[in-house]
Amino acid sequence: MKTPARGSLLSIEHLPTREIDALLKLARGMKPAGPRPLLRGKRVALLFYETSTRTRASFEVAAKSLGAITTLIQTSGSSIEKGESLLDTGFTLAAIGADVIILRHPNSGAPNLLAQHLDIPVINAGDGMHEHPSQALLDAYTILRHKKKIDGLQVAIIGDIFHSRVARSNIHLLSKLGAKMTLCGPPELAPELATTLAPRVQITRHVEDAVRGADVVMLLRVQKERLAGLKLHAFDYIARYQMTPARLKLAKRDAILMHPGPAIRGMELEGDLADAPQSVIREEVQNGVPVRMAILARAVGKAR
């Protein structure tokens, strides 16, 4: 086993706070339209074992904006279908000359495995229920466009936290930058164990308590199939935890409403709330590009 190559981004948990700050600063200087061929001639492999719209498109646009050559490998139409292991696929991409691998995988820890055996940087684009570091970074970037700093902010995180890699990355990142968090959801989706993840995290079963006085209200996707599997009723979830205009009013007047997407209108939030003035949901997607440009620049050692 090797130490992951410099420039790898596997988790927020192990990313030092100064590197988080540096990445956010770097992202602010990234202009998707500008001529910044930091990755000219570099080969970026997008290795996606799961379907994805925004993460994949966003990483691809980010890489191309920096002048990189990108290759997309998906489960279907590749040797993965024939039973090739993750490591062997990784070795193949490295042998072809990939300079960076961006990996999306349904198993938690898959990027760690790849990074422990390859000499090139691995970027985690979401692994199982573990982490989604680029999402947490773009969320922090988005928050900082509306708030002076993250230190001292009150953040409500509502929905399916247990199954969410976005939740884990955001909890680590916001805790490192000094925010206080209140998690909310039924015990099956927001288990008490979640408070052990990082300092300054508490939990409530009352959505009103979570939202009251919050600077940021962050919603997470709640899948109907998951509720059914846990023998929870969708209408119960909606009644107790759905974000509505009335509930959102309990937050600070200048609070922002976030959602990593894909948002299920009518489930975790009332249908039109995604388009309300407090909503920064589309802005999050937009900010994904400069943040991922910064992640890629750091990966190839052109972060300065």
Partner: protein, 433 residues
């Protein structure tokens, strides 16, 4: 040290004998002759010559260690291990007897396969005692022919790797066990509650985004089995017990004089779920590493006598199998060569558990579980199986140099106190440092 290893008699001189079965803990000499223990006497008191001598000065001379739980992987998975390599590793760990599990391919559920396993062509270096399947193909439905399997040489029955969950099947198995006096070994796990769980539930599983199985998935099955054993008079042995609540159930059963025994592995009393750190599959096994409180409870159970034996659950796997996503990597670690080092370091040196208790767990305690007569003791006439170790010697384990075919050990690079110096099976030295 031995002048000759292939001889009819061997005198082990100058050592300190620990034989818990006879309550010996004193400097004594041992004479082995024709595959049996011929004499044990005070230093220098054994008269007459021997074909060979072993100088055991400064060493502990113990009855041959018995491992109640190993996977030798034959038939069917000889790329992971064979009877030959698995027993060589066992010998290096001081084990003179190993009880091998039937979850092979095909499953050891017939007299033919038990006989095959015991054939000299397998190349066993130490005694092999097969544990046969409790149900056909270990499917949990139809009981195997316990009587015939026992006659063929199987010492117990189990569906290890899988539990017998059906109440009726388990009740029938225990009734039959009572009639035939054969032990039923249970891998206690409610698999309906652990599906898709590669580790124990706790802060680490939440942090890693892995599904965690609860300790109750083990303890609930132990609870049920104990009740069935009490009702039927059957003999139940709980394999690789890992949870504090399971131990409580066994302790209660023993107080009620039920015929219930249990084994604990070195890794479960040494490591916890937190040691998995970032998806290190060398720490993935079943039952999973549990909380620090569970590990503490196991050590307490070892100290107070509730635990009958230390067994390794030696489970070799090829490197490519372990180098997978944590969810996909197979459960299991190798353990034959590190068991004594871990027991002496963790239990004796760090916790003050007497060496004689540790030797008991490896010898007479284990022998009783499967009624291995004439083993686990140095009584006159017993099999000439002897383990000689240096309780103070420090050494470092290198998995790459293991005699096992596989190297999937979390203890690679660990330093231990306590090293096996020689292993003697039927009067022959089969391993020597």
């Amino acid at each position: 040290m031995a002048e000759k290893s292939k001889s009819n008699s061997l005198l082990i001189k100058g050592g300190h004998i620990i034989d818990p079965a006879q309550k010996f803990d004193a400097p004594m000499d041992v004479l082995l002759r024709d595959g049996r223990v011929a004499e044990v006497a005070e230093p220098g008191k054994i008269r007459g010559g021997a074909d060979a001598k072993f100088d055991a000065r400064g060493l502990i001379v113990a009855p041959g260690f018995i491992d109640l739980h190993v996977h030798l992987r034959e038939p069917g998975q000889s790329y992971k291990e064979t009877v030959e390599t698995g027993t060589a590793a066992a010998a290096a760990g001081g084990f003179t007897s190993v009880c091998c599990m039937p979850n092979t391919n095909p499953v050891i559920d017939s007299v033919e396969w038990v006989t095959w396993l015991l054939h000299p062509d397998r190349g066993a270096v130490v005694n092999v005692f097969p544990v046969a399947a409790a149900t056909l193909a270990s499917r949990g439905a139809t009981l195997t022919d316990f009587r015939a399997l026992h006659r063929a040489g199987a010492v117990a029955v189990t569906d290890d790797g899988k539990p017998v969950l059906d109440d009726k099947v388990m009740r029938d198995a225990l009734r039959l066990s009572s009639d035939l006096n054969i032990t039923i070994v249970q891998h206690a796990e409610d698999t309906r509650a652990t599906e898709g769980c590669p580790m124990h539930e706790g802060p680490t599983s939440f942090r890693l985004g892995l599904r965690g199985s609860k300790a109750s998935a083990e303890a609930d099955v132990v609870d049920r089995d104990v009740q069935l054993a009490q009702a039927s008079g059957g003999r139940l042995h709980v394999a690789h017990l890992s949870a504090a609540d399971s131990l409580t159930a066994v302790r209660r059963a023993k107080r009620a004089k039920a015929r219930v025994t249990c084994e604990v592995t070195p890794h479960h009393f040494t490591l916890t779920d937190a040691d998995i750190r970032d998806y290190d599959t060398r720490y993935k096994m079943n039952p999973p590493l549990r909380s620090a409180a569970d590990a503490e409870a196991l050590i307490a159970g070892i100290a107070d006598g509730t635990v009958d034996a230390i067994a390794t659950d030696h489970a070799p796997h090829a490197a490519y199998e372990k180098n997978q996503e944590f969810d996909r990597a197979p459960f299991g670690i190798t353990g034959s060569e590190t068991a004594l080092g871990l027991a002496i370091t963790k239990l004796h040196k760090e916790r003050g558990i007497p060496l004689s208790r540790i030797v008991e767990l490896f010898t007479s305690g284990a022998a009783r579980v499967f009624d291995l007569h004439g083993r686990g003791t140095l009584a006159k006439g017993a099999h000439a199986d002897v383990t000689i170790f240096d309780p103070k010697k420090r050494w470092t384990y290198e998995a790459a140099k293991s005699l096992s075919k596989s190297h999937n050990s979390p203890f690679d690079g660990w330093s231990f106190t306590g090293k096996v110096m020689a292993t003697i099976v039927s009067g022959r030295i089969v391993y020597e440092v």
